[in-house]
Amino acid sequence: MAKSQISLTVNGKTVEALVEPRTLLIHFLREQLMFTGPHIGCETSHCGACTVDLDGKSVKSCTVFAVQANGSDVRTIEGMAAADGSLHVLQEAFREMHGLQCGFCTPGMITRAYRLLQENPSPSEDEIRMGISGNLCRCTGYQNIVKAIQYAAAKISGVPFREAAE
């Protein structure tokens, strides 16, 4: 199959590549660029394990062709920590609040939460739940994921985090 030339930014670095027109962005990221953080959990855009940030929006990269990302700025979980290796506050928050178990949904969930907090820096609990409803988790029951996002939101805004009583 004839290949197309694409050029895009992934986690801050320019990438030039040849891809088949049918190559999905998730396969391009995972198998050509070896960014294996985003995962594949379904193929119907329901689970959100493949969520990445594309030009300032959360997208499910299993439903985007790599050629559609031509010229875009893509960020995956691998681009979340600072250059010196220190964790993003959301990464720290997920660990602090026990917001993950098997870790399979986590990269997509954190990437989605990152965009959610860009869109709404101090979301209510309901807004968080709605905001991550495109990302499925089979392990945690979401309660601690919600808490982790609240923790991160508080920390980013510089307000004290008060854990709601269970």
Binding site: T23, G37, H39, C47, H98, G103, T106, R138, G141, E166
Partner: protein, 806 residues
Amino acid sequence: MNDQTPTSAQRAEALQGMGCRRKRVEDIRFVQGKGNYVDDLKLPGMLYGDLVRSPYAHARVKKIDTSKAAAVPGVVAVITAETLKTVNLAWMPTLAGDVQMVLADGKVLFQNQEVAFVIAESREAAADGVELVEVEYEQLPCNVDPLHAMSDGAPVIREDIKDKKEGAHGPRKHYNHVFAWAAGDKAATDAAFAKADVTIKELIVYPRCHPCPLETCQCVASFDKIRGELTLWGTFQAPHVIRTVGSLISKIPEHKIHVIAPDIGGGFGNKVGAYSGYICAIVASIVTGRPVKGVEDRIENLSTTAFARDFHMDMEIAATKDGKVTAMRCYTIADHGAFDACANATKWPAGLFSIISGSYDFPVAHVLVDGVYTNKAPGGVAYRCSFRVTEAAYCIERAMDIMAQKLGMDPAEFRVKNLIRREQFPYTSAFGWQYDSGDYQTAMNKAMETVGYKKLREEQKAKQEAFKRGETRDVMGIGVAFFTEIVGAGPSRNCDILGIAMFDSAEIRIHPTGTGICRLGTKSQGQGHETTYAQIIASELGIAADNIMVEEGNTDTAPYGLGTYGSRSTPVSGAATAMACRKIKAKAQMIAAYMLEVHDDDLEWDVDRFRVKGNPERHKTMTELAWAAYHEVPPGMEPGLEAVNYYDPPNFTFPFGAYICVVDVDVDTGETKVRRFYALDDCGTRINPMIIEGQIHGGLTEAFGIAMGQEIHYDEDGNVTTASLMDYFLPTAVETPKWETDWTTTPSPHHPIGAKGIGESPNVGGVPCFSNAINDAFKFLGSTHIQMPHDAWRTWTAAEKLGLHA
């Protein structure tokens, strides 16, 4: 002692041992996207496999033409049953003593059954090849209703064994019969029913559902022809079992098979079994001499590997007029699909279903289970429960509610009256299980007080009156469940898989500088084993948890173990870990005595050191003793500081809990709002409360999914209609309720650290609690039992049948 010297308590806290809300070690890699899952693996020269699957539930395979597929650029080979026959692998033995087709051999027996395996240079080329494999089918009548499987003239599912009168578990009474299994005292039970004041009988159906972990089943097989060695990476909850079964099936000597289970993206039972895709990948690697990756997609996962439940239970309870239970009996039809590939302990074709007498003091009881073949997927697993325990818990907890209703008693009050009393432990049930420990009344009372049970019932009464007056269209339900599990399989006298006793193991090596590694036969799929096993060692050996590395999933380095499922990691490998620690500690004590020039008995343990009794200034810490073990051991003693323990548990453990939930159901839409869910669990000694709470949140969410919507549904032609996330209900953050957790602690008397296991309790207790709440909401309108799942459509239909929409 100067002020800088840490106290014993401070030193104990620094260890992060048992009881500590220790943050998880695993998370550091997972939050950075640096987990190492099977599909992340990319080996040089690796090929990709993809399966051709049957569109029919039951059909003869007349012809398979692979020529067009083989001509697709990038396709390397196409494997069919004919290819597999050349290596004697067209069929494989199952864990349950049956045999199963690896690829369709003459017939297909369920929709999406594996028919051919296409191997190609890329995923895409393999998928192109799958499209071009031409299969000619002749459709046959099919049956997906287990209640009709043994009727006259039912389609013959298994032609290969249709005349066999004897199955793996005794006589077969019909060509679609798998096994009959009974427990309890039938005569005494029938006699008790004959003279009972009050009886109830209800067909309670636990529909077929699926564990659906977020990561599907997948593997990479790499056969090295020169060395004759196979390396198999895979999503395996039980890596050693896969190695042994792999060796028995492939005839590759077991020492030449290396099974590696890297990080696993959730299991919940789905990843216990050995599936056709694995065998195909192994054969493909042998044939091509290159590594071969096989990854299920979601539809393949939901429709072909590891269903759960499908138990159809005719349940009866007998009681006295004043509400004391006198007997129970249950006749069950179990739908095992087209092959009996259930992942059970081999001697237990219906698992531990005889825990069905639950938490109540039944003098006599009897169960009979008939397993049947249908045109559905094989491979039954325990979806986040011990073998068939959740079916049993659901059945008894629904039945207790139905009996309470008939007696006109409150369901909680009826339970309290019949709970096994504290002084009866260890308690032998009517089925012969010896429940290790429990304090059921305390748990139940605490639950009822915390939620304000009496007030809730008063509120419900007022709401019911308001409903009758037409002031509201909501009905309020209060669900109560008190469950007892049987987990930690298991004692070798009860349990084996293909003859291998269900022990588990731990091997601990303490290094000269006082840090160490622990390797185990279990395999975490998100439970946090790397964190919690280290906490056990920290408390046992006085070495900080941060200084212990925990490693699982590599059969070359880990001692043999039966894997992680049935809440067995803590009860079995957790015990092995503690016992291995105690061997190390005993040796360390001898070294300390030698160094301090005192008798062993003159020493006492203090958190992280041995000290001389009455003279605590004279001591040797574990760090010092570790160094000494490699440097100055007593004369005649072997150097080194390591131990291995294979733990054969003397009994199962019996975690329990009291759950209460409150729902409001809109009778016009069938929508249910969960107002409150309170879960009190008793898992014995608690190792890491943070992880326990996380396990409960997750298990309750799965229970919510099962009770409120999950079903693997087949239409009458055998088409599976719920095989994608479009149709199979996985709760999102929006509909998932908020969970309240609580606990009591009743240690297991036979477990070295008193722990019982927690991961599966919330699934076992949660499902009946939700179902009881929905049923409770409609009870005052004359309803007795509404079947799961309680999605809006079914609930609306139930309301319609009750005439509520007139």
